[in-house]
C-alpha cells in the first residue's frame, strides 16, 4: 500500500509538469518570444511583464519535513502585462502530501504597479494581492509572521477545512546596476479573519553569467543563464514583531532564459534555523506568449 502511494505520488509529481510542459510546447510551436527573467522564486524585482505579453508558469516546491511526510506543492501562474507599469497575475495552487492526498489549495490574484516613470537609483514597485486559500497550502510563495515547519504537519484532511482570505502588500525596492540586480521586498499581510498583521522580508541578488550578447543565435550562451541568491523569512506579527519563532531560508538559484521564450529555474533552498524546513527543492518552467492581449482583442473585434 505504501509503495502504491509512493508510486502514485511520483506519477502525479511527474505527470502534472509533463502535461503542462506539453501544452506549453504546443503553444510554443505557434509563437516565439524571448523572456529575460531573474532566478528569484520568492523575491520580486522591479522588472515587469512587457505590455500585452502573457507568461504561463509552472512551479514546484518539493520538501521534506521533520516529524511528517514529504510534500510536493505546485502552482500555475498566468502573468499578464496590462501596461508597461502594471502587471497582473493569477495563481492556482495545489499540493500532494505523501501518504495523504492531493488537494487544490486556492487562488491568488496579485498586481504590481510601478509608480515612477523612469529608472532611478532605487525603483519602487507597489504590490498587492488577494489570496483565497485553505490551510493546506504549502507553496511557501512567501514566508511571513511566525510561519514555522511544524505548521505544515497538520494532515490535509484537517488543514483543508480552514479557509483563509488574506490581503498581502509588498513594497519592492530594486535596482539594476552593472548587470547585477539587487532587490528587497518588505511584506505585510492581513488575514481577514481577525488575525493580526504579519510581516516578512525577501532579499535577492542576481547577475547574468555573461553581460555581452553573442553575435549568433544560441541556446547555451552564458548570457542566457542568470545566477542569483535569495534570502527570505518572517518578521513576526503586530504584537510580537521580531525574529523569535520565525523561519528563514537561503536559496541559491539559476535561471535559463531560452531565446525561444522558455524559461527554466531551479532553486535548492536551505533552512537557516530550527524553525525552518531543512531543505526544499524549487523549480519552475515558464513560457511567454507575446502579443497575447492583441490576439485576444482581434478575436473579438475581427481585426486589430
Amino acid at each position: 500500500m505504501f509503495f502504491l502511494r509512493v508510486k502514485s505520488f511520483r506519477l502525479f509529481a511527474l505527470s502534472v509538469p509533463a502535461v503542462l510542459l506539453t501544452s506549453l510546447a504546443w503553444l510554443g510551436s505557434a509563437i516565439l518570444l524571448h523572456a529575460q527573467e531573474n532566478p528569484y522564486i520568492v523575491a520580486y524585482d522591479h522588472n515587469l511583464e512587457e505590455p500585452g505579453s502573457l507568461e504561463i508558469e509552472y512551479f514546484s516546491n518539493l520538501g521534506t519535513e521533520r516529524g511528517g511526510p514529504g510534500f510536493h506543492a505546485f502552482w500555475g501562474e498566468f502573468e499578464y502585462g496590462v501596461t508597461a507599469w502594471w502587471t497582473t497575475e493569477l495563481y492556482l495552487t495545489g499540493q500532494t502530501t505523501l501518504d495523504e492526498s492531493t488537494v487544490f489549495t486556492g487562488i491568488r490574484w496579485e498586481n504590481r504597479i510601478r509608480p515612477l516613470k523612469r529608472e532611478h537609483f532605487i525603483n519602487p514597485v507597489l504590490y498587492f494581492e488577494y489570496e483565497n486559500k485553505n490551510g493546506a497550502d504549502k507553496t511557501m510563495k512567501e514566508v511571513e509572521g511566525h510561519d514555522v515547519e511544524s505548521d505544515y504537519l497538520v494532515p490535509n484532511a484537517i488543514a483543508r477545512q480552514e479557509t483563509v482570505h488574506e490581503l498581502e502588500f509588498k513594497l519592492i525596492l530594486s535596482r539594476n546596476y552593472k548587470g547585477w540586480n539587487f532587490t528587497e521586498n518588505t511584506i505585510a499581510s492581513k488575514n481577514l479573519s481577525n488575525v493580526p498583521w504579519e510581516f516578512g522580508y525577501a532579499l535577492g541578488a542576481s547577475r547574468p553569467l555573461a553581460l555581452k550578447g553573442a553575435a549568433h543565435r544560441c541556446n547555451f550562451c552564458l548570457q542566457h543563464f542568470i545566477a542569483g541568491v535569495e534570502m527570505y523569512g518572517g518578521l513576526g506579527d503586530r504584537y510580537s514583531f521580531g525574529l523569535h519563532d520565525t523561519s528563514h531560508y537561503l536559496a541559491p538559484g539559476l535561471v535559463w532564459n531560452l531565446p525561444s521564450g522558455w524559461t527554466f529555474r531551479i532553486e535548492p533552498t536551505f533552512g537557516l534555523n530550527g524553525n525552518s524546513h531543512q531543505f526544499l527543492l524549487r523549480w519552475g518552467a515558464a513560457y511567454e506568449i507575446s502579443g497575447f492581449g492583441r490576439n485576444v482583442r482581434s478575436v473579438f473585434k475581427g481585426r486589430d
Partner: protein, 151 residues
C-alpha cells in the same frame, strides 16, 4: 464573515476590471497623440546622457549581437528590421537615426512606460549598447516605406 469576504472579492475584481478598462480607454484616447509625440521622447533625454558615447562602437560583433537581441526583444513591437509595427514606431525614422547613441541608450534604459515602451534596464548595459549599435546601423528607411505612414 462569508458575506464580507464575498463582498471584498467582488470589490477587488470590480476595481481590477475598472482599472483594466480605464487603461484600455486611456490608450485609445491617447493613440493619435502618441504617434505624433513618441519621437519627442528623444528630445527629453538629459544632455549628460545624450553625450554618452557607445563603448562598443568599434566592436566588430556589436551590430551582429544587437541584431540577435533585437530579434529576441524588440522585433515583436518595432517590426522586422525596425521598420515599425502596430504597437511601436519605426526605428528607421530620421528622428531616431539622427539621435545621438546616448539618447537611444537612455530610452532603452528608462523606457517610456506611459507610452507602452517597457524599461529594458534588465538587459545588462553592454547588451543595450549592442542594441544601440544595431539600431544605428539600420539607417533611414527609403521615403514612403514607413508602415505607420501608410493609410
Amino acid at each position: 464573515m462569508k458575506f464580507h469576504c464575498c463582498c471584498l472579492t467582488g470589490l477587488l475584481l470590480f476595481a481590477g476590471l475598472a482599472l483594466a478598462l480605464r487603461a484600455q480607454d486611456g490608450r485609445r484616447e491617447r493613440e493619435p497623440k502618441e504617434k505624433e509625440s513618441v519621437y519627442a521622447e528623444l528630445e527629453k533625454v538629459p544632455e549628460k546622457d545624450r553625450q554618452k558615447r557607445n563603448p562598443l562602437a568599434k566592436d566588430p560583433d556589436a551590430v551582429a549581437a544587437g541584431a540577435v537581441l533585437f530579434e529576441e526583444h524588440c522585433e515583436e513591437c518595432h517590426g522586422s528590421g525596425g521598420m515599425g509595427g502596430k504597437k511601436a514606431p519605426s526605428l528607421r525614422a530620421a528622428e531616431v537615426q539622427n539621435a545621438p547613441p546616448g539618447a537611444i541608450f537612455w530610452i532603452l534604459t528608462n523606457g517610456v512606460v506611459r507610452k507602452k515602451m517597457p524599461v529594458w534596464s534588465k538587459l545588462p548595459e553592454p547588451q543595450r549598447w549592442q542594441l544601440v549599435s544595431y539600431i544605428k546601423s539600420l539607417g533611414m528607411a527609403p521615403a514612403g516605406s514607413d508602415p505607420q505612414a501608410r493609410p
